[in-house]
Symmetry: C2
Subunit: 260 residues, 2 copies
């Protein structure tokens, strides 16, 4: 479906190291579904024999895919294909506190970063993508996408509003899916309905103010400050499969970075 | 000076693996200055002989310290003691644009994330630390610290204001240092004047509004929204050696996170 396949070029490019070429071939097994998410990969010695290479080379190739987050080593159990992206929840950027909670109850409640907000799909329609969005998805100018508007609730309060764009025809199954079957999380849906495993997300955070429509949806005053998270999410092959804008109350924003 | 030395306990604790104990002993060489920042460490075979252990064990121990950011491997050159923290600039949270720059000149200018703002020390005085700050520094209640107020300039505009607390007596040399010798960066100063290598920083970003004094220092209106970065920075032994509050215009805030 895609003309520009980075895996194929890495597997044959003359400038790429031997283990880099093997890494691209192993990645192909994951992308093609030969190695399923969550399953253990064969023993290193088996793979070395299959490719006719030294054990050290297969270890280097596996290390590349561990580094890229496609495989993970589990101490004493083996090497596994990762189950798509974890830790990408928008909630890691916010700390919403239930207004109704008694003082001091915060620390004993559900860890805020782990709570999954309820998702309300406000609209979902096919639309022509603008030129830059089409290019982001690797589609020609004039291509269509799915534009989704979603509101997310926590503690019976509207907390986040999201505008999500997905490429068509890849995500066509979602267009026909009844609202009742969407559930609260998008990525499991992309996997089960469209066969897309989201493997990487790049989030950019800025601050601005809410316009009147946004403020109304979030039950906040017009012009209230908000944190804006702009996300580009990528599948196993490195193609962009989602563009998302998330807005939430700036005063609930909280992010921690650990630098070494 | 410190009663509670995590290195000593890791080096002798019965529950710690052999390579974990060796890692603690190697870390001790860095903390004690036997291995200097920026210098290459001895060959793995030399270290294996020194400790009377297998090459595989020394490699595991080195891997632990690479993981912790104390050592770094340089392809084809060897393993080096890292030169303290890199990539901890507050500027990575902000994108200030020179108002005077010609349109389009942004892309060809200095990479904003790399620019070092000029530092203006507004005040520096010894003061009694509050109880939680003393505890953070591992000091007794009633201990004193150095309270520094600093303003940072870029493109001839005030961009950030910072309140910095440092533990005494560790940072006493800074109290006597003439303002002209401070330079623009704190961590090289902590290293050269106080022998403290900052090795890790934990930054937490939240959002609030500027009070009248802060706004005046930043040449912004009273009540203007600001991003607040709260930093705790740690030395090689894992002791907190700095607490910092940085405030800057919220609309200049920008942070990118890459999740895999």
């Amino acid at each position: 479906m895609q003309d520009n396949d980075p895996l194929r070029s890495a597997a044959t490019a003359p400038g790429v190291s031997r283990y880099g070429r093997i890494a691209a071939q192993l990645q192909r097994k994951i992308v093609d579904g030969e190695w399923q998410p969550g399953s253990a990969i064969p023993a290193e010695s088996t793979l070395a024999a299959e490719f006719g290479i030294a054990l050290g080379t297969i270890r280097q190739a596996i290390a590349v895919l561990v580094q890229e987050g496609l495989l993970e080593r589990v101490q004493g159990k083996g090497t596994f294909v990762r189950n798509g992206l974890t830790g990408a929840s928008m909630m890691r950027f916010f700390r919403f506190r239930a207004d109704t909670a008694a003082p001091g109850s915060f620390a004993t409640g559900i860890e805020p970063g782990l709570a999954i907000p309820r998702s309300e799909i406000l609209s979902c329609r096919a639309a022509r993508l603008d030129k830059s969005m089409a290019a982001l998805f690797g589609l020609d100018a004039g291509a269509r996408g799915l534009a989704i508007s979603r509101r997310r609730w926590l503690d019976d309060k509207p907390r986040l509003i999201e505008s999500i764009w997905l490429p068509l025809p890849r995500c066509e199954p979602l267009q026909r899916l009844p609202r009742a079957e969407w559930g609260d999380l998008l990525y499991p849906l992309l996997a089960s309905q469209c066969g897309i495993t989201i493997h990487r997300a790049v989030d950019e955070v800025t601050f601005r103010t809410l316009d009147a429509d946004e403020a109304s949806l979030l039950d906040l005053p017009d012009g209230h400050p908000c944190a804006l998270v702009t996300r580009r999410a990528y599948d196993l092959q490195g193609h962009c499969a989602e563009y998302r804008l998330t807005r939430g109350d700036a005063y609930a924003f909280r992010y921690q970075a650990d630098i070494r």
